[in-house]
Point group: C2
Chain length 150, copies 2
DNA sequence: CCTACTTCCTTGACTCATTCAAGGGCGAGC
DNA sequence: GCTCGCCCTTGAATGAGTCAAGGAAGTAGG
């Protein structure tokens, strides 16, 4: 877990000014992996009092551009953010409730993640998303409570 | 290429009524791989005259649910549809202009597409998206004309 | 410590893809 | 050709995300 001091150092390490909203959002993102923007707004307000949603949007963009957060957005979902960066891990998404879990790259050194024919594209990243059902929805799978699609 | 007759047979083969909007949208999706909804609305109108956007949305959902189309939605993009289904192919997305190209599954029989630790999820699909730059944007890469993100 | 500059946050309005709802229209089987 | 049920039209609403202008606060230099 990251402390307030760690968050401030992280911000300085990427030449970003240390402000209360940024620290609060960074801590919130560390606490709740794969949280969506609305959740992070709420968490940031718990941590520091009032913040505008616009400020959180700006902060999330700044942190993402700086490489402190990674933005993920499975089809039919709102944007979500995670603080686990730098390793090549992927995600499993539940089709019923939309929950997300981390999955380490299956084979050791990202094979099959270089396309056989790249159609002339310069590829810099391979993103893998697994789709299925989470344990909770699998057990109570008769009537899904909430469809993940928009 | 699919003809009008082919489209009608496809619709009947999945027990869908044959209507002018459905035929027009199905043909449009075959003609323009990875087209977004707005493009398909325009193409459908070229093919059959006036159609409401709501009708196209309904048709796209029906065709997707029936398995005649596949809906893809890279992060930060609107929904796009493709008629190439049934094979395990993936996509390269240009970070600059958002264009999409097909990529055959790199290694023969979808290895590394079974997660090493599935976190208890029942996985039924693995989706791979490659990110990079298309040939056009790579050559004129000084000032990207249009950012794919929303 | 204090000032000045630059960046950041607040407020409020707005965009636009997508969905909801109600009613009339049309395809398909009899 | 008629009836039933699904489909399309119209019109409005939703909601994540963005734009824009002005005031506030962090940081560097004196």
């Amino acid at each position: 877990m990251t402390t307030r001091t760690d968050a401030e150092e992280l911000l300085r390490s990427v030449s970003l000014r240390v402000t209360r909203p940024r620290v609060a959002v960074l801590l919130a993102a560390h606490d709740r992996p794969h949280a969506d923007t609305e959740t992070l707004i709420g968490a940031a307000r718990e941590g520091m009092g009032a913040v505008s949603h616009q400020a959180v949007y700006d902060v999330l963009r700044a942190l993402t551009d700086a490489g402190l957060l990674r933005r993920i957005q499975p089809a039919g979902s709102v944007a979500r953010y995670e603080a686990r960066i730098g390793d090549n891990h992927h995600h499993v998404v539940c089709r019923s409730c939309g929950s997300i879990a981390d999955v380490d790259c299956a084979v050791g050194h990202t094979p099959c993640l270089t396309p056989s024919d790249d159609a002339g594209f310069t590829v810099d990243e391979a993103e893998v998303t697994f789709w299925g059902q989470c344990p909770d929805c699998a057990t109570s799978s008769d009537i899904p409570h909430h469809d993940a699609r928009q």
